[in-house]
Amino acid sequence: MDRRPVHPMAWIVWATSAGFVAFVTTDPVYLLLLWAVSWFVYAGHRVDAEHARSFRLFLTGAMVAVALRTALVFFGTVSAANTTFSFLEGLRLGTILVIFGTFNAVTDPFGLVRMAPRHFHEPALAAALALSIAPRTVAGVGRVRDAQRMRGIRIHGARALPALAVPVLERGMEEAHTLAESMDARGHGAGRRSRYRPQPWTGAAILIAVPAIAAAATFLAASVGGWAVLHPQTSPIVWPEADPLLLAGIGLLAVPGVVGRPER
């Protein structure tokens, strides 16, 4: 099995295609199937506990989004039709969130930073740094809280907050100083950059990207050609359809679940 990581672009293609599919339809059959597909792909590629946690958060976020969007119906007249409409809109939003959750769990933020076009390199690097330093910051807060307890200061309420905030911030500032020195000394900003190990397009990457494009194309055709119902009627409410060709398209999006999986 090829151990090389999958080219991030393949994942971008997958996520964009899946996102596009979710965008053009409000048919709950397709959408819910996409939830399942996203979970399946995530399960095949997750590597560590941190990814698992982040995916769970996205899942929760998605469900909250569905709930909130559905609840928005209360701002107008409440009817079965309106509620269903709101719910389907929410489901669509939630689907996109879940897809993004999978994307987030299977890609490495630094891999994406390296792919960023030159002018976005620095902001992208800053974002990746923020993500990678955050666990240290959280741990630091715990340590400072303990340290202050051990000299008799309990952080209770707003009065004692400086005892918590200042050491954490100062530590962060020193680390920023060290980091900046290190970056400067190692040539940051010295001119045109090159890319270490431009990632090769492995077979796995192609097997992820191409079916995804095919899936998106199917749905695009359906949207333009109108030969399948992508937006089920809500007034009156009708049972949603499930066109077999479109179902197969969604199936193509599940291919990454079995392809290019990292060794554990």
Binding site: I96, F120, E122, A128, A130, A134, V138, V166, L169, A180
Partner: protein, 281 residues
């Protein structure tokens, strides 16, 4: 291993020539580029407030793509954001700014989940103090990058993300434009007042992105045929019902935090910026 890097030196020479033409080590924002930034921000503002200004076009859009509307506007917002970033980062931000953005962005990521009660989120204090200490340009960048990174971390992504980024960026930039006054009291007072106001302003602006798509004819909804002033009234009514209490938590929370830790934290940031010889802008 050779210790002489001939090939390295060759690429070096070429890079030296190219890059010397765009030397930039700080987040200095000179006059001309401020004008461009302002323009980009105005366009961004329009992306928020278009429902009040171009109702007839918007109505057609809303009727045909009622569900898609938010996404289209989001895409616009994303494009604008990209332009803003390109502009701000054009000369190269430099290692000091990138490192500080990383560390302070990490603080925002760390604070996004736990310090969260109704509309209040502790991460606002970070942009408020960072903007106030390190300048509006930095404050804006930090707001954007922090919301982006924390959004990834927390699963809070969606078509609202570009707006969140820009809105928090504005909070950071606004904090950087506040007067420092002659004394700490004045400085903290200004920051607390701004923290209070921005708590509401942020909510006011964020609710706006989906409000137009709730067309159902009620007195709280957007009415394309109604003219700007009527829509503003409708929106405010909607906001009072929907967002006011939520945002009060944020406004009050911001003030509390500014008063509780504003001074020592600002002092620490000022010192760090001085020690790092970061020219703020």
């Amino acid at each position: 291993m050779t210790t002489r890097s001939a090939l390295g030196l060759q690429t070096q020479a070429a890079n030296v020539r190219e890059a010397e033409a765009r030397e930039r080590r700080t987040v200095l924002v000179p006059g001309m580029r401020i004008a461009l930034l302002v323009l980009a921000n105005v366009i961004g503002l329009l992306a928020f407030v278009w429902p009040f200004l171009v109702p007839s076009i918007a109505r057609r859009v809303a009727e045909n793509h009622q569900g898609d509307g938010p996404w289209i506007v989001a895409a616009l917002g994303a494009i604008l954001l990209a332009l803003l970033f390109l502009e701000l980062g054009r000369g190269g931000l430099g290692p000091k700014t990138v490192a500080l953005l990383g560390v302070l962005g990490a603080a925002m990521v760390a604070l996004r989940l736990p310090g969260f009660v109704a509309g209040f989120s502790a991460l606002f204090i970070v942009v408020l103090v960072a903007g106030n200490s390190l300048g509006p340009g930095f404050g804006f960048l930090l707001g954007c990058i922090g919301m982006f990174a924390s959004g990834i971390f927390v699963g809070g992504l969606g078509p609202w993300l570009p707006f969140e980024m820009v809105a928090v960026g504005w909070v950071g930039a606004g904090a950087g434009l506040l007067p420092h006054g002659g004394s700490w009291r004045t400085r903290i007072a200004w920051l607390a007042a701004f923290g209070f106001a921005s708590g509401y302003l942020y909510g006011l602006v964020m609710e706006l992105w989906f409000w137009p798509f709730l067309t159902d004819g009620s007195a709280l909804a957007w009415n394309p045929g109604g003219g700007a002033w009527m829509n503003v009234r409708h929106y405010l009514a909607f906001y009072v019902v929907d967002g006011l209490t939520w945002d009060t938590f944020r406004a009050v929370g911001n003030v509390v935090l500014v008063i509780a830790i504003g001074r020592p934290v600002l002092a620490a940031l000022d010192r760090a910026a001085r020690r790092m010889q970061l020219r703020v802008g």
